[in-house]
């Protein structure tokens, strides 16, 4: 017999130990479901696309071609990059896209799962976990492109490349933090999903993806305040030169990300019943 479940109007925050215990329990319980949902989403995603998995390669390649042509035509100037420019753009774009996937994924997934959320009481964490798995899967495909790229441009690789996944995971977690924060509100108000693309476009502009980290001026200040920058730059540096330039801000952002993720997770759990009650009848 499963344990007795009690539903009351009281806030779960008044029973923090119970809350943390149920969070842990649901996280464990949602593993298999998350796997199923991930398999379902990935197979559906590629089944109705003629180009299939190629869709994971096309955006970074298009981006790199475009910016390399523009740079060669001296439309804009960027400082020296420590690896060849096309490789620099393509690698950064792949990382940036992974961040964007992690940030927009939970919002879209929760909106799509609305009918399911309104009818079945399954661990809501499964939706987020499934999306994380999908982000990982898509990055894995991009990795093939990156490896090919590194070989083609003979990019030097340092031994620190084995540490790069750690930084990458922090980058994905930061994206997930943004995603979980926005997901409940995104179900209630369409404004969130409508503005998300715009915000991400602007955010890309503030992130050293097509240019190396600026050090001067107001723009340099803005970029320095962008939490994505140290994570993305550190991931790239670990994978290539091995010379780290933003160690302190990397650890500050990572620490805040982990703490923030736990808090937004609590918020997500508390918010979801209210969201479900408002979206359907």
């Amino acid at each position: 017999m499963p344990p007795e479940l009690i539903y009351t109007p009281d806030s779960l925050l008044r029973r923090p130990r119970f809350l943390l215990w149920t969070m842990w329990r649901d996280l464990l319980a949602s593993r298999e479901l998350a796997w199923r949902l991930m398999v379902r989403d990935i197979s559906a995603q590629y089944r109705q696309a003629a180009l299939g998995i190629a869709w994971a390669f096309i955006p970074p390649v298009a981006m790199a071609v475009g910016f390399t042509l523009a740079k060669d035509a001296n439309v804009f100037t960027v400082g020296e990059t420590d690896i060849p420019y096309p490789a620099f753009v393509m690698f950064n774009t792949a990382l940036w896209q992974t961040f964007v996937d992690a940030a927009t994924g939970p919002v879209q997934a929760v909106i799509i799962a609305k009918p399911m959320l309104a009818r079945v009481n399954f661990p809501r964490e499964a939706i987020i976990l499934a999306k994380l798995g999908e982000v990982g899967f898509n990055f894995g495909i991009k990795l093939v492109l990156i490896v090919g790229l590194f070989l083609f441009f003979r990019v030097p690789v340092s031994w620190t490349v084995i540490l790069a996944p750690v930084a990458l995971i922090h980058l994905v977690l930061l994206g997930t933090l943004v995603g979980i924060l926005l997901a409940p509100i995104g179900v209630l108000y369409q404004d969130v999903s409508k503005s998300l693309n715009m915000i991400m476009g602007f955010w890309l502009f503030l992130t050293p993806v097509i240019y190396p980290v600026p050090t001067e001026g107001a723009f340099g200040m803005l970029v320095a305040l962008n939490p994505v920058a140290p994570l993305l730059v550190t991931t790239r540096e670990l994978a290539t030169t091995g010379v780290l330039t933003e160690v302190v801000s990397f650890w500050v952002v990572s620490g805040l990300t982990l703490l923030g993720l736990l808090l937004t997770w609590v918020g997500f759990r508390i918010a979801m019943p209210y969201v479900v009650e408002r979206v359907t009848s």
């Binding site: 109007p9 199923r36 949902l37 079945v120 009848s281």
Partner: protein
């Protein structure tokens, strides 16, 4: 407390012990829920509630804010193992909201709900079906959403496919399925999660009559095994068949609860607004004003015996007439009665026993203003003893319905032994001697 817990875990397989039987599987204690009809304001309240909850709780969740109303108010009831409760009430009475609170999808605004046991919502047919994926893939996804492990799904997979009757289409995308096939697959997935408590919300409206009957049979089997039910259905027939208890909700308030027949009676009385008089095998309706009427109204439904005398005793095998006294407000031609009779209770109760339609028998009548009595004469009453429910319509030309009685219930008894018979067969026995015939001669 600790002792009880440890004994419980030791005797997990002895769930049928009287001790655990006395514990309700669902206990709803003073539950209320408020909703808001204005979408913008409703969303805003949602955000406010989230903010309040995140800062430690909503202090006045028991008070209405502007434009809110109580979708449920102070509902309390208990459900025990093996019990089946029907929820009746008109649209918007709060039935689905109550089910959603019980399944933990939304929080109550006051009161609390306790659930012991694995709960499966049959509100969720085909939740998470992806049209591009095959039936096989969707079974796995759907059943994991309903809380099964991959191992458990593998074990039940064959049964699910067999129940849904989609063997040949299992590897085709679900978007190629007919709506009936998809609905069958959804029902099969949900029913094979093997719950202790089943919440059924209007789902049996899908599929053809044969599959519906199969679903009812399966529900009946589950009940025999001790599964507790909460059933929502507009068709009081289904409630009478499956449930032993009923709860009647009107605009979020609990009007009546208790024995199913009494509650359903009350619901039907209120449904047809006016004070219908129900006595044994008879229904009397008050007159309707001309502007409320659709032309002709039922005033009295009753039976007459072989001598044409009104009777309240219906005997299997005896002559009987079903009589409908109708009041016409104008002259009408082409009026016919349409009668469908279903048996109440038992495993074979899905579907109609009899469907007698005047328009099929060319029994059209000409009614002039005032009262007339239409009689359906049966030389022998073929129905076996039991309780029946008749749906009776007064129609014109097979399209227009003047008046409708959703459920006219009557009881048939018998003086002779018709046990083991599905219906009464009028008969006589005789014996005739056979004259031997020689070979080559033609038989008569």
């Amino acid at each position: 407390m600790t002792i009880r817990l440890s004994t419980e875990s030791l005797t997990e397989s002895f769930m049928a012990t009287p001790e655990s039987d006395s514990q309700p599987v669902i206990s709803v204690e003073g539950v209320s829920k408020k909703f808001c009809r204005d979408l913008r304001r409703s969303l805003f309240y949602g955000v406010k509630d989230i903010a309040a909850d995140l800062t430690g709780g909503r202090p006045h969740s028991d008070r209405l804010r502007p434009q809110e109303f109580w979708a449920l108010k102070d509902i309390s009831f208990q459900l025990h193992r093996g019990q089946a409760v029907g929820l009746v009430g008109s649209n918007g009475a709060g039935k689905s909201t109550l089910l959603r609170i019980i399944s933990g999808l939304i929080k109550p605004d006051t009161g609390r709900v306790r659930v012991r046991g694995r709960l499966a919502p049959l509100i969720a047919l085909g939740a998470g079906f992806n049209p591009i994926l095959t039936g096989r893939e969707n079974i796995y996804a759907n059943m994991s959403i309903l809380g099964l492990t991959t191992q458990q799904i593998k074990q039940r997979f064959a049964e699910v496919v067999e129940f849904a009757e989609i063997e040949e289409a299992i590897d085709a995308p679900v978007q190629t399925y007919s709506s009936g096939m998809a609905a069958r697959l959804g029902f099969a997935c949900a029913i094979y999660t093997e719950p202790n408590i089943l919440l059924v919300d209007e789902v049996l409206a899908v599929g053809d009559a044969r599959f519906k009957a199969k679903c009812y049979r399966r529900l009946y089997e589950l009940r025999q095994r001790g599964v507790a039910f909460i059933l929502v259905n507009h068709n009081s027939q289904a409630i009478l068949n499956i449930c032993d208890q009923a709860i009647y909700l009107t605009r979020g308030a609990l009007v009546a609860q208790g024995e199913v027949n009494a509650v359903v009676d009350q619901y039907e009385r209120d449904l047809f607004l006016n004070s219908i008089e129900r006595s044994e095998n008879r229904m009397v309706f008050p007159p309707k004003a001309a502007e409320e009427s659709n032309g002709i109204d039922f005033r009295d439904l009753f039976f007459r015996d072989g001598d044409g005398q009104p009777t309240q005793t219906l005997l299997t095998g005896e002559p009987l007439s079903l009589c409908a006294v109708c009041e016409a407000h104008d002259s009408y031609s082409g009026v016919a009665l349409d009668i469908r009779i279903a048996k109440v209770g038992g495993i074979e109760s899905a579907g109609y026993v009899l469907s007698l339609r005047g328009q099929n028998d060319d029994a059209f009548f000409q009614l002039s203003p005032g009262l007339s009595e239409i009689r359906l004469q049966m030389p022998y009453l073929g129905l076996a003893p039991g309780v029946y429910s008749a749906q009776i319509r007064l129609r014109k030309d097979a399209v227009y319905t003047f008046d409708l009685v959703e459920s006219f219930r009557f009881t048939v008894t018998s003086q002779q032994n018709v046990n083991k018979c599905q219906f009464y067969q009028p008969r006589s026995w005789s014996m005739v001697p056979v004259v031997p015939v020689s070979a080559g001669q033609l038989l008569p």
